[in-house]
């Protein structure tokens, strides 16, 4: 029996889709059976980042409207057998999917896969409700910006009303070390304190992420990039391992501070 994890943020453009693709890839690298679901109906992106755009024949709306079997709509990744993608529809809108439909699909996928990663659309409307409906737990992505943290807070409030196994966990994305150091970016400590949920990972802002996305292969596949290691660490934490948080730089003070948070968590 697998576990469904929804990746959400409230605000757009903070890196939900990139995070979904990379966590999925990283989990697959560790030989877990993973299915990615894109729920951003009408604005699908996950297939592009995964480089699977050309292979789409059926999509999630086809499954819900029973034009095809679930198995037919799943696209096997070109790199691993362990990884599949259920793409969103590009032509319909969000009302084409219902919460019941989502629950049914996820329940079916859980039989086969270890992890189901649900990429949530931005906003708090129908699309968000659909994406959250079948999830067992949630990961909230935020960037160290005021507006993004504010929206994350709102989303956590909404998630707490859903009946999930665990409280949501937090990923802080796109951290720019030099800006944090100069005090121009909100401190990680402050974000964690305000949102008061468990931190499951921090990801530095890395140009390689954009390059990799454009190539259609998630950055988690490139070894030795900071962002890549960060995503793989997050995947290990999802599996229940205790991994210390990455240092942003080889600066001891920051490392200790961040580590302290992780220490409280585990």
């Amino acid at each position: 029996m697998g576990e469904a994890i929804v990746i959400t943020s409230g605000k757009g453009g903070v890196g939900k889709t990139t995070t979904s693709a990379n966590i999925g890839t990283a989990l697959a690298l560790m030989e877990k059976k993973v299915c990615l679901i894109d729920t951003d109906i009408g604005l699908r992106n996950l297939d592009v980042i995964m480089g699977l755009e050309n292979r789409i024949i059926y999509d999630i709306v086809d499954v819900i409207e029973e034009r095809c079997k679930l198995k037919q709509a799943l696209i096997k990744d070109k790199r691993f057998d362990y990884l599949s993608l259920l793409p969103a529809a590009q032509t319909s809108d969000k009302s084409a999917v219902t919460q019941e439909g989502m629950k049914k699909i996820i329940a079916e996928l859980k039989q086969e896969y270890d992890y189901i990663i649900i990429d949530c659309p931005a906003g708090i409307e129908q699309g968000f409700q659909n994406a959250v409906a079948g999830a067992d737990r949630a990961i909230v992505v935020t960037t160290p910006e005021k507006s993004s943290v504010r929206d994350a807070d709102r989303i956590i409030g909404l998630l707490e009303k859903e009946e999930m196994k665990d409280s949501p966990r937090l990923i802080i994305n796109r951290i720019r070390n030099h800006m944090v150091k100069s005090g121009d970016m909100i401190d990680i400590d402050d974000i964690v304190q305000l949102l008061s949920i468990d931190l499951i990972g921090i990801v530095v802002d890395d140009e390689e992420v954009i390059k990799a996305s454009n190539r259609g292969e998630p950055v988690a596949l490139t070894p030795n990039r900071k962002a890549s290691i960060a995503y793989r660490n997050i995947a290990r934490r999802i599996l229940g391992e205790t991994v210390p948080l990455q240092s942003l730089e080889n600066e001891k003070g920051m490392f200790q501070k961040v580590k302290k948070f992780f220490g409280i968590r585990s």
């Binding site: 504010r150 807070d153 709102r154 956590i156 409030g157 909404l158 707490e160 305000l194 949102l195 008061s196």
Partner: protein, 228 residues
């Protein structure tokens, strides 16, 4: 037999007259006797205005009976009703009174977009995040950080106050007063309270110690009892 027993007793004190109305007779009988007594004891024109206190004992007056009583007293020149006191109140009023004077203890985080509204005083154990809002008809005590909006005394009680362990609110509202955070980036304050300063006619934030001077008003229940 009725004539023997006085339904209305009048006592003179330094502040004025006190009327005791017998609690066992019917209201119409009492009114009748009141009419007569008042006529007999009419003050002379040159006398100063006398204030009258009415004590009803264990009698409850409906609104129109209350009005009737005031009319009788007030129609005589020179009398002025100071207060009408009764030992009993209705259950409904008592429950409302209890609700208004209770402290509600709530343990949660009020996040962006959420609103927490209570009757009476609010003791929140947790934070109010930016974009969150807490509202109470009485005082608000926050054991945590206040970043959002707090509105105390929402039904118009200007004596309410807002207390927080850490205060950096976007707005403080007390009754019909509103104050907002300055436009420049500022640090928050620890263990302070917001209250209405009557001299400046606005909300001020000050050390908690200032509440010592207002401690009488903080004992909400006591205050309500005094006001009747």
């Amino acid at each position: 037999m009725q004539d023997k027993k006085q339904l209305i007793t009048i006592k003179g004190t330094r502040e004025g007259l006190t009327l005791f109305i017998d609690e066992t007779c019917s209201f119409s009988e009492a009114i009748k006797e009141l009419h007569e007594k008042i006529k007999k004891n009419k003050p002379k024109k040159e006398d100063p205005i006398v204030s009258v206190k009415i004590k009803l004992g264990n009698r409850y007056l409906q609104d129109d009976q209350d009005r009737q009583l005031s009319e009788i007293i007030n129609e005589v020149n020179g009398f002025q009703i100071d207060s009408i006191e009764s030992e009993v109140i209705r259950k409904e009023d008592a429950l409302k009174w209890k609700e208004d004077s209770e402290i509600k203890v709530i343990n949660r985080i009020v996040r962006s977009g959420q609103e927490l509204e209570v009757k009476g005083d609010l003791l929140l154990i947790g934070d109010v995040n930016p974009g969150g809002k807490v509202i109470s008809t009485g005082n608000i005590y926050i054991m945590g950080s206040l970043f959002g909006i707090a509105h105390a005394g929402v039904e118009g009680d200007r004596n309410s106050c807002i207390v927080a362990s850490y205060m950096k609110p976007s707005q403080l509202r007390i009754a019909d007063y509103i104050s907002r955070a300055p436009d420049y980036e500022s640090e928050g304050v620890y263990m302070e309270c917001g209250l209405v300063d009557e001299e400046q006619d606005k909300i001020i934030i000050d050390r908690l110690q200032i509440l010592l001077h207002k401690s009488k008003e903080l004992g909400r229940f006591e205050r309500r009892v005094q006001n009747g």
